[in-house]
């Protein structure tokens, strides 16, 4: 009985959603309707076009998307070009060398280790945002990976269905309603804004203070640990300068960064 009620309510909800949104049916309506003698299904016929074909929605949306608060644009663009060069001439060659001299399992061990260390600020920020379920999950990850995963060299938690979730202090600030502030291109680190750059500093000092697995203490004596961490960070970041292959890459990166942060904060 309960089951049936559930099904009925689910169906109703679906129907309501369909009625409210009046979306097109899930699978194509094009089939069999207008297949011409060549077998062409004329996909565009299924669409409802604006009658005058003169709407300016693409232009309107895109122009609106270009208004990101960026008072330091000139400096940011210079830093963007500096980062681009640094990436091509220093960072990526080093990462390639790292890829060349280490076997795959070493690299994934290094990535897992630093990711596990990074779960400490993730936990702390997730607690600050009162995300109960997520805090539990991150705690479970830390416990599992630090013990069974031997100090985080393996990541058994992900295999058990606890995926890595990142929360930083910039997100925490955003959660409490702190605005983005001006867009910033941080040397070497890449796109950011005033709020998130501040958040980065807080996360870094918190990590030093907690000194989880002695990483902070060891890296202050042995800068090579920091260097390895930086290389691993670049190794695991798939973004490449120039990958958008557009004269307007700066604008596009700026928009995507801003929206991605909004999404991370809302979620």
């Amino acid at each position: 009985m309960v089951k049936r009620l559930l099904i009925i309510s689910a169906l109703l909800a679906c129907g309501m959603a369909e009625a409210v949104e009046e979306t097109a049916p899930r699978t194509s309506v094009i089939e069999a309707n207008n297949v011409d003698s060549d077998g062409f299904t004329e996909p565009l016929k299924a669409l409802k076009f604006n009658p005058g074909l003169d709407q300016r929605e693409f232009e309107r949306s895109t122009l609106a998307a270009l208004t990101v608060y960026d008072p330091l644009e000139s400096m940011n663009r210079r830093i963007y070009h500096f980062n681009y060069r640094f990436d091509q001439w220093v960072f990526l060659p080093v990462v390639n060398g790292y890829r060349y001299i280490t076997p795959h399992f070493v690299r994934s061990g290094v990535s897992n280790f630093f990711s596990n260390v990074g779960d400490v600020p993730n936990l702390f920020n997730s607690l600050l945002q009162f995300k109960g379920k997520r805090s539990m999950e991150i705690t479970a990850r830390l416990l599992l990976n630090t013990t069974i995963g031997v100090a985080g060299l393996w990541d058994p938690a992900s295999k058990m269905g606890l995926p890595h979730q990142s929360e930083d202090f910039g997100q925490t600030l955003g959660f409490y309603g702190v605005p983005d502030g001006p867009y910033l291109m941080v040397p070497i680190l890449g796109p950011s804004n005033l709020r998130d750059t501040g958040g980065l500093v807080v996360d870094y000092s918190a990590e030093n203070w907690i000194n989880f697995l002695n990483v902070a203490e060891v890296s202050s004596n042995h800068p090579e640990v920091l260097a390895l961490r930086a290389i691993d960070k670049r190794y695991t970041t798939s973004f490449r300068y120039g990958q958008l292959n557009s004269p307007f890459e700066y604008e596009k990166v700026r928009y995507v960064y801003t929206e991605a942060r909004k999404l991370q904060i809302a979620e």
């Binding site: 949104e21 979306t23 097109a24 899930r26 699978t27 194509s28 094009i30 089939e31 297949v35 003698s37 060549d38 077998g39 062409f40 299904t41 004329e42 996909p43 565009l44 669409l47 409802k48 076009f49 604006n50 074909l53 003169d54 709407q55 929605e57 693409f58 232009e59 309107r60 949306s61 895109t62 122009l63 609106a64 998307a65 270009l66 644009e73 000139s74 400096m75 663009r77 070009h81 681009y84 091509q88 890829r99 795959h104 379920k133 997520r134 995926p163 979730q165 490449r240 120039g242 990958q243 292959n245 557009s246 004269p247 307007f248 604008e251 929206e259 909004k262 999404l263 809302a266 979620e267």
Partner: protein, 432 residues
């Protein structure tokens, strides 16, 4: 022997009468899950139906650059320093092997996701692979294009041919047994023209050429793409722009899912969720991405040729100067605008050319009809629901390619390229 021949003839006759020569694959036996062409175009194949591919770590590959237009180093503004040389990617086998050239689609660089996918597919099958940018991509226009006004396919093919020759000259010790060529979308049209050019220049003697989802009539294709941003989208109003609408949906999707997970299956999974986009919204997304390509092409071509339509000639640009005002202007130019404002005037001035119709005939597959009919080495794979086609285009493909046309019932524009059935067919074609 004679009997088997007769049997073959009979079989051939039966097949040909059944489906007018082309290999038409019916939807039931094809089994591609995305029957909606827009969904297929955006989400492509669900990961579990893709072929198994090697990871980047298992491929010996590097990026190289060619200095084909050294004068551009002096004429281009400072902040275009990364595109003064043309980059390409070469994946090499450690033994003698055939070499495959791949040409990217509209506006796409050599490292586009479809090029990367095709590279992995062919590399695994034992080919050296060279990935090339599309002649319409930003880096190609600045670094390799003689007239920097892509769209006249014959000229684009000549530029590409030079690039290919440059690539070969840069790797004299690469043991290559024979050359193959493939391209997708606009790159497929380019590949057909490159192959035609190769018949007279004979640098490569391509053994086989495969066109994946080429435009047939280039003008139909760009009109279709321009039109995609004219759909009536529900939910767009004075306070919500189209991007905000899509981003809101994405945010709600992640909230319902509980965490952000960016992976191959994301778009497919998103379309299965409550927040899925309608046909009109998906069309708008596809149209938007092509409009960005159109803006890049219009701006770059105008900048290099100093036409003064978007950016004033001699406008001082340094690494710190904002390009946003020009971006805003370029955004208002769609493919049709680029064609009428930049391609046609240049084409008329250079070739004493005539009307738009003549140009369309010259730059589309029509120009190569006789060649395509007589060249058994060229084949084409296309979809019956591809958004870049118009009525009659498939008829042209049937008459030009005959049984060398493979027509899939679904897949939208290039959405089924990474479906296992398609990848098997592609490898099979090159295997011969």
């Amino acid at each position: 022997m004679l009997r088997s021949l007769r049997l073959a003839a009979l079989l051939g006759g039966l097949i040909s009468s059944a489906c007018a020569w082309a290999q038409t694959i019916d939807a039931a036996s094809y089994g591609y899950p995305l029957t909606n062409p827009f969904e297929a175009t955006i989400a492509t194949t669900p990961p579990e139906l893709r072929p198994e591919l090697p990871s980047d770590d298992d491929i010996t590959q590097s990026d190289y650059s060619l200095n084909l237009r050294p004068e551009r180093a002096f004429t281009l503004p400072d902040n275009f320093w990364p595109v003064k040389k043309l980059k390409y990617r070469l994946a090499r086998q450690d033994h003698e092997a055939p070499l495959m050239f791949l040409i990217a689609g509209t506006g796409a660089p050599y490292s586009s996701s479809i090029n990367e996918y095709l590279k992995k597919l062919y590399y695994k099958a034992g080919y050296h692979v060279v990935q090339l940018s599309s002649p319409t991509s930003f880096d190609f226009i600045t670094a390799a294009s003689r007239y920097a006004t892509p769209g006249v396919t014959k000229e684009d093919a000549e530029d590409l041919y030079r690039v290919m020759q440059g690539v070969r000259a840069q790797h004299p010790r690469l043991p290559v047994s024979e050359y193959y060529l493939s391209g997708y979308s606009l790159g497929a049209l380019d590949a057909a023209f490159v192959s035609h050019l190769d018949e007279t220049r004979r640098s490569f003697n391509f053994k086989r050429v495969l066109l994946l989802n080429p435009p047939v009539n280039l003008y139909t294709s760009i009109s279709n793409l321009d039109k995609l941003v004219q759909t009536e989208v529900k939910g767009v109003n004075n306070s919500t722009t189209f991007y905000e609408l899509v981003l809101n949906k994405l945010t709600r999707y992640f909230q319902q899912k509980g965490y952000i997970d960016l992976n191959d299956a994301l778009l497919y999974d998103f379309q299965q969720s409550r927040q899925h986009l309608s046909n009109e919204q998906m069309a708008m997304v596809i149209g938007t991405s092509f409009r960005f390509s159109a803006a890049d092409i219009a701006f770059t071509s105008d900048l290099i040729n100093r036409r003064g339509l978007i950016i004033p000639p001699k406008y001082p640009i340094t690494e710190g100067s904002s390009l946003t005002p020009f971006f805003k202007r370029a955004l208002q130019c769609d493919f049709d605008c680029y064609l009428t404002e930049q391609v046609i005037p240049m084409w008329r001035a250079r070739t004493d050319g005539g009307s738009l119709l003549q140009l369309v005939d010259q730059v589309s597959l029509y120009a190569l009809k006789d060649y395509l009919q007589q060249s058994p080495k060229i084949a084409v794979m296309h979809n019956a629901d591809d958004v870049i086609l118009g009525p009659g285009d498939l008829g042209f493909l049937r008459s030009a390619f005959g049984e060398r046309l493979t027509l899939y019932p679904h897949g939208g524009h290039c959405g089924n390229l990474n479906y296992r059935v398609n990848s098997d067919d592609m490898l099979e074609f090159f295997r011969g």
